[in-house]
């Protein structure tokens, strides 16, 4: 179903080689393994998972900061074929922009807001006059809910939420089609978080942007995502429409993740799906399914092969050989 996807990834993989030292062997870290998905204009794809699950590696590959080790990445119909050390075409780079988690670290403290916003235009739209650039910057400042007098201020003069607005404005200066949002609201206070989420929703409507929303906060994801990819240890373990995944999580890890998330309702007491232990070390991956050592349903078969993603519903894919059991158990726990 290739109804004009703005971005499509097929078996996207990124491995890192770790050089051996005098006392250690060289190793390969599989930071991202075989991610396959499509992204449509005006839609939000959420990537959820815990630290070390490959969310940020995915963001770096999608924004072409790093080339994939293998797999195919297509952006607006153009395939990005990249070798290590090769620069992607500038035209494609303009299509994808990224917003980082920490707005305190991602803005240059020595530049004013207007300078930062004009910089991408200076580099990419050489034909634009200084006055036109300034005008475009002011227009964007208004769009993200800042005031014109903010244009000549420096980042330290802004609060966290306002800085994130500046980062968003900067990302939008070149009219990208895709925004990769790497934990855009997790550094913000609750009352500010809602403001930024609403702004993102408005901008998506206005520009028809496609979002890749990387987050560990499930209540935020549930609210804004159209599709979800749940990742564990570098690989997608469950993908599907957000509503479907949230109402009936099928993979035991998804279930555990959801039930571990605290819900702001003191009257709710649900039986937790207990998760023992911690994620495995990327240098010593367990045999078979990477989730098997922590999974309450794991059997010997789980340690044999790494299960591939399989279609269990017309839109949901799960990588688990005990899906039926997991679902039955989850339904009982309610």
């Amino acid at each position: 179903m290739s109804r004009d996807a703005v971005l499509s990834a097929v078996n996207l993989t990124r491995h890192y080689q770790i050089k051996g030292g005098p006392f250690s062997r060289p190793a390969t870290v599989k930071a991202l393994n075989e991610a396959t998905f499509e992204l449509y204009p005006g839609q939000t794809l959420a990537v959820v998972g815990e630290s070390g699950c490959g969310k940020s590696t995915l963001a770096r590959v999608l924004t072409m900061i790093e080339p994939p080790t293998s797999g195919k990445l297509t952006i607006s119909g153009h395939e990005v074929s990249l070798k290590e050390g090769q620069r992607p075409p500038a035209a494609l780079r303009r299509e994808v922009q990224i917003i980082f988690q920490n707005p305190y670290g991602s803005l240059n403290p020595r530049k004013t807001v207007a300078t930062m916003l004009e910089e991408p235009l200076k580099l990419n739209r050489k034909e634009m006059s200084a006055a036109a650039r300034r005008e475009a910057a002011l227009e964007m400042i208004a769009k993200v809910g800042l005031r014109p007098e903010h244009a000549d201020r420096y980042p330290h003069m802004f609060s966290g939420g306002q800085r994130q607005r500046i980062a968003i404005a900067r990302a939008l200066m070149l009219n990208p089609k895709i925004l990769v949002l790497d934990e855009p609201v997790s550094a913000l206070d609750l009352s500010i978080q809602a403001q930024v989420l609403n702004l993102l929703a408005d901008l998506q409507e206005e520009f028809g942007l496609a979002y890749v929303f990387i987050s560990h906060d499930l209540s935020v994801v549930r609210r804004i995502a159209d599709d979800v990819i749940v990742m564990y240890f570098g690989q997608p373990v469950e993908t599907g429409p957000a509503e479907e995944v949230f109402t009936t999580p099928r993979h035991p890890y998804t279930q555990a993740l959801f039930s571990a998330t605290p819900v702001a309702d003191p009257n709710r007491r649900r039986e937790r799906v207990h998760l023992k232990g911690e994620p495995p070390s990327p240098l010593a991956p367990p045999p078979g399914c990477p989730f098997a050592p922590r999974c309450h349903l794991a059997t010997d078969a789980c340690t044999q092969d790494d299960p591939p993603l399989e279609r269990v519903d017309d839109r949901v894919e799960v990588a688990c050989i005990h899906v039926d059991q997991a679902m039955a158990r989850y339904a009982r726990a309610g």
Binding site: E50, Q195, P262, P266, E278
Partner: protein
């Protein structure tokens, strides 16, 4: 008699531009075996008020209180020597960043041992046994091996378990946990919260949990203190707080939670930002962001009404979700949820 009895706690910091009131008028009474939570956004003074209680603030801080007693002992009158005997022993604390709270130069065994030696004493062998016991108690697999590990050899969740082991090593009667799970993943967070609650139940100690996460509050605490810009705005038990918040700030904060927003197109927001040191408004500190604020709120600083058990810091506390403020009528007409969320600092 309450275990921890604090009334009118204020903390002021000397800064180059004068005194800054980081915390003002905080009251909290924790009884034995109770689980409390202090919730608020960054800058609400939730950590500072507990650090003041522990006596861990730097000399630039001026701590004053009408009453500050732990188990009947006046904490303000204690000599440093007496205070050191209580802090870390009967009253102990764990912090947000487990990785940076442990000393990287010593094994975790040495660091736990130091606590026990300081407060309980005993022979080297007894202390070693106790440390092994504690590591097992906080759910660290293979304690005999882990006791020799250095902090960098452990994950964040494991380090936090070690911090908890240190904090409970001397059987405290009060444990203060300052954002103990904020730096951890959700599945590890669930494990740590469960561990804290289990230890609390087993030992009967009181627990004060400082957090900004309403979900954590709902699932762990029995009583909640809400702080805003250094002031305590209300104090309720957890169920009535979530069902009937009394302060407009609490109400707004709860409705900004994505999971409580329901099917609305946009999340309800609180306009503006928390006031900083230099832009504190006159009157009620929340008035520029409050949708019920009146002229009275902008001029007069509120005090908790006599006989209000929640001690709500508001001229017009909400009753069953309805504000008696004259400004509330206008709000009801033009639905608050649709208020423009793009506005910035008022």
């Amino acid at each position: 008699m309450a275990l921890l009895d604090i009334e009118g706690l204020s903390v002021r910091f000397k800064t180059s531009s004068g005194l800054f009131a980081a915390v003002e008028g905080v009251d909290i009474n924790v009884d034995r075996g109770e689980v409390w939570s202090i919730v608020g956004e960054s800058g609400s003074g939730k950590s500072v008020s507990m650090l003041a209680t522990m006596g861990l603030l730097p000399w630039t801080a001026q701590v004053t209180a009408d009453k500050m007693a732990f188990d009947g002992q006046d904490l303000q009158q204690l000599s440093s020597r007496q205070r050191r005997r209580i802090v870390g022993g009967e009253m102990s604390m764990i912090f947000q960043e487990p990785m940076s709270s442990l000393n990287p130069c010593f094994t975790v065994g040495t660091q736990i041992d130091e606590m026990i030696k300081q407060h309980l004493g005993g022979t080297r062998r007894e202390r070693h046994e106790r440390a092994l016991d504690l590591l097992a108690q906080v759910g660290i697999p293979d304690p005999a091996r882990r006791i020799k590990a250095y902090p960098h050899q452990m994950s964040g969740g494991m380090s936090q378990r070690v911090m908890i082991a240190m904090a409970i090593s001397c059987n405290p009667r009060l444990l203060i946990a300052d954002e103990p799970t904020t730096a951890l993943d959700v599945t590890i967070q669930a494990q740590i919260l469960e561990l804290l609650l289990r230890l609390q139940e087993d030992t009967g100690m009181a627990l004060i949990l400082i957090t900004h996460d309403m979900g954590v509050v709902a699932e762990t605490a029995k009583h909640v203190v809400v702080q805003y810009a250094g002031r305590q705005v209300e104090k309720q038990d957890v169920k009535s707080l979530f069902a009937n918040p009394r302060h407009p700030y609490t109400e707004a904060l709860l409705s900004a939670l994505p999971e409580r927003a329901g099917d609305q197109d946009r999340l309800p927001t609180i306009p503006g930002v928390v006031p900083g040191q230099h832009d504190r408004p006159s009157g009620c500190l929340f008035n520029p962001r409050c949708r019920y604020a009146t002229e009275h709120c902008r001029e007069v600083e509120p005090v908790p009404a006599a006989g209000d058990p929640a001690r709500t810091l508001c001229h017009y506390p909400l009753e069953d979700g309805i504000s008696p403020s004259p400004a509330a009528a206008g709000v009801a007409r033009d639905n608050p949820q649709s208020s423009p969320h793009r506005e910035v600092r008022p």
